[in-house]
Amino acid sequence: MAEEERKRNTLDRGLLKWLEGVKNLEIEDVDFVIDRLEFTLPTQIFRPPLLPKEVLPTGKPKGILTSEFSIPVDTYRGGVTEVVLGATKSEGGTRSRTITVGGSKTPAFYAFEDEKPNPPVIVGDVFDMKVSLPKPVREHFGEVLEDPAEWARVYVEKFDVDMIDLELISTDPLINDTPISESAKLVEEVLQAVDVPIVIGGSGSPKKDGDLLSKMAEVAEGERVLLSSATPDLYKPIAEAAKKHDHSVLSWTSLDINQQKELNRNLLEYLPKERIIIDPTSAALGYGIEYAFTIMERMRLSALWADEELQMPMAAATSNSWAAREAWRKDHDLGPRNLRGPLWETTSALTFLLAGVDMFIMLHPAAIRTVKEVAGWLMKENAEKTQKNWLDLEAV
């Protein structure tokens, strides 16, 4: 092929040389005698080839041209705030240790910008009543699913989570309308059962959550919990309770960066930014995850640009990923769901991890384990740098 091209190019150049001084030339009564004339009639719209038409081996250079890669470091005006959750005995609580969330001064895992982040925080998701969970999740917990305190303990002792999220969904007037006093008892029970810092979640009922979370804030005073959540429709009583009893607040909006900023502005009237964590809503993989991913990336960048309204750490509830039917559906064609489901949650979590999320509220132990493992590797400096020779892999 190249030879023909070379011939063509030679002919072109020859012709051009001949025509050098020509502006207007007419030849009459001329014969063209050609050995071989080829042309083609394409049946499709042709796309010209992409290589430069006249690439010939130039014969140079002899050796590799050395060129140094310049590390593309940027400077940032701001960073993500650190939020401390939990309190030890000396601080007025009963937790064995505190957890620090956030604090990054670069985009997520930009090791080349000398980032030394706090490790992401893994929170085990516990519900105060029996909920329908997918089988791959259930089989790791068995009976404890009916006993929140035990459930929490399994998360901590067996699966090594950093925190527990106790979701008091049964208090929803449309579900069981569990009295607040009962929830108060449960919170105390859970605080006894585990010694990690906790998140206390309401049911999402705008009618009840205000009173509920206010009471729980009181009950848990001293433990520096995260109250979940303040929303655009309901934030005042929760913010006030957090202020009064020294807790933090999860600021939750629905995939709308403007709404998030506004809610944060409102919360900042009551609390410093060191006591707010953002939950932009972690939509499921396949069901809106890209909205969440982009909002998270943007929020991290805004934090680095010192936008005070977005300088809080972010949380993602990857338990949401199980809403995708691909995650839980029993379907032979889609492969074994005991692998498929946890991988669905894992993929979501790692996606959010790279977008800048600092706190993960999770369900499946395999996903939990993978996130911890991967985060550990991403943060480990001076690791063994082994390139794997995948090219020579025998048939796998």
């Binding site: 007419e26 004339l37 042309f39 960066i257 502005r265």
Partner: protein, 464 residues
């Protein structure tokens, strides 16, 4: 905020409620009645008795079911932050608030209002304007904390309605004149709106008295009210700071705000032009001003215009280029109201530079297009393509013609010539190399003899 003391329900779900005539107890205003109005006036604190409702004329149940009446709603507000400039914004809320009342319907605004109260609601106990007033005033005070005191008057006495209607019309006209008359350099601040940043992270609108927001929904007055009502909301005051260029509309305060809000992407803004550092757009602009290079002018197309514009592209295609918060020369998002402004694209020549626009828009803006230009700017009725446009503009001696330096070259002819020549001379290099991907036919001639009576070789100069 509760309405337990009101005999009917109050809430957002009633917003779209329609009351049919057979269900109507009393109709207020409407097409059958000549005089109707609603108006908000700002007052001094001392002039208002907070929560007072005055009724001039028959109350609701003082008339028979099925009656239509002339009607006026007169609301007086006071507060530290309340000023005359905010009256219009406050007034616009009346429509919503009336509709939130179960069985109460409000359509249109100002001197076109049309209201109906249902028999069912009257039966439940809504028998006095006092109750309606209560709800409305409560809603106002909750939603707009800047209103510290408020009182309402309902007028159903025909003579009084007629008298106050005249006053109201004067106030409306004065407001409009002020709104249109207010100059950018008179404003103490501008307003920024980041409402659209969810869709366009690098876009922020700067709203000035003479440059309406691109979406067409927010005037400088609206911005002012919004920033006061909801200082935590997406609309905020922007300090002008130093005026760097009055003609182009460049202010250092605006530049700073833009840099900050767009994460550094948009550093400079010239408010009154579509070139250089134009004001950006998100995606919800009402219209686009697009450059037509063949005539060195700007065409206008609005969102509702269907089909191809004069340059062969429809609104939707150009919208993609215009949107997204980037500064692109020659694709400029705008609102219809901005086209009424004396500063409309003044750097580019204003209306002198507009070469085409849809008929509907032309009709709407007819009073604002300089009289001598009206016939010179074609719509889709006269011109649908660029060649026609050129001819038309020349014919009508549109000012843009002065910008043309030389008549356009006979470019098409040259191009054709070049094509005829190429295959004959450049051998296979002119034909794209056949790649098997194209698929087709390969012709091979062997031992060829071509006789030509004449062969012409002509140099063709580089173009562009």
């Amino acid at each position: 905020m509760s309405f337990e003391d009101i005999p009917v329900d109050v809430g957002v779900i009633y917003e779209g409620e329609r009351i049919r005539w057979p269900n109507t107890y009393v109709e207020l205003g409407g097409p059958r009645i000549e005089y109707k109005f609603e108006i908000v006036k700002s007052r001094d604190m001392s002039e208002i008795e907070d929560g007072k409702v005055t009724i001039i004329g028959p109350d609701i149940t003082d008339v028979e079911a099925g009656t239509s009446l002339p009607f006026g709603m007169y609301i007086e507000v006071a507060g530290k932050e309340v000023e005359a400039d905010l009256e219009g914004v406050i007034e616009r809320r009346l429509h919503e608030y009336c509709n939130f009342i179960q069985g109460f319907m409000h359509i249109n605004q100002r001197y076109d209002i049309h209201l109906r109260l249902s028999k069912a609601s009257v039966k439940k106990g809504m028998n006095s304007y006092k109750l309606i007033g209560k709800v409305i005033m409560r809603l106002y005070k909750t939603d707009m904390p800047l209103i510290e005191k408020i009182q309402m008057t309902f007028i159903t006495d025909p003579e009084k309605v007629k008298e106050m209607h005249a006053e109201a019309v004067e106030i409306y006209n004065a407001r409009d004149a002020r709104a249109r008359g207010m100059k950018d350099d008179e404003a103490d601040v501008f307003y920024g709106c980041a409402l659209c940043q969810s869709f366009a992270p690098t876009h922020v609108c700067t709203i000035t008295p003479q440059r309406y927001a691109n979406c067409g929904a927010i005037s400088w007055f609206d911005g002012r009210a919004a920033a006061r009502i909801d200082p935590k909301g997406p609309i905020f005051a922007v300090e002008k700071d130093e005026c760097l260029d009055e003609w182009k509309g460049e202010y250092s305060g605006v530049n700073e705000m833009s840099k900050e809000k767009t994460l550094g992407e948009v550093k400079r803004v010239w408010l009154y032009t579509a070139f250089g550092y134009p004001h950006t757009s998100c995606g919800c602009f009402e219209a686009i001003a697009f450059y037509v290079p063949e005539v060195d002018g700007l065409g206008i197309v609005d969102r509702d215009f269907k089909g191809k514009t004069v340059n062969g592209l429809p609104f939707s295609t150009m919208a993609d280029t215009t949107a997204g918060g980037t500064q692109v020369d020659g694709f400029h998002g705008l609102s219809i109201e901005y086209m009424r402004s004396p500063k409309f694209l003044q750097v580019d020549g204003g209306w002198d530079r507009i070469v085409w626009l849809p008929k509907k828009i032309k009709d709407r803006l007819i009073d604002f297009i300089p009289e001598d230009l009206v016939d010179k700017i074609p719509t889709e009725e006269a011109v649908t393509n660029v060649q026609g446009l050129k001819a038309y503009l020349e014919d009508q001696q549109h000012p843009v013609v002065d910008r043309w330096k030389a008549p356009p070259e006979a470019a098409p002819e040259e191009a054709v010539e070049a094509m005829e020549e190429a295959p004959e001379f450049s051998t296979l290099a002119a034909f794209p190399r056949l790649s098997a991907t194209a698929g087709g036919f390969k012709f091979t001639f062997e031992n060829v003899r071509i006789h030509a009576d004449r062969v012409r070789i002509q140099r063709v100069e580089k173009q562009g």
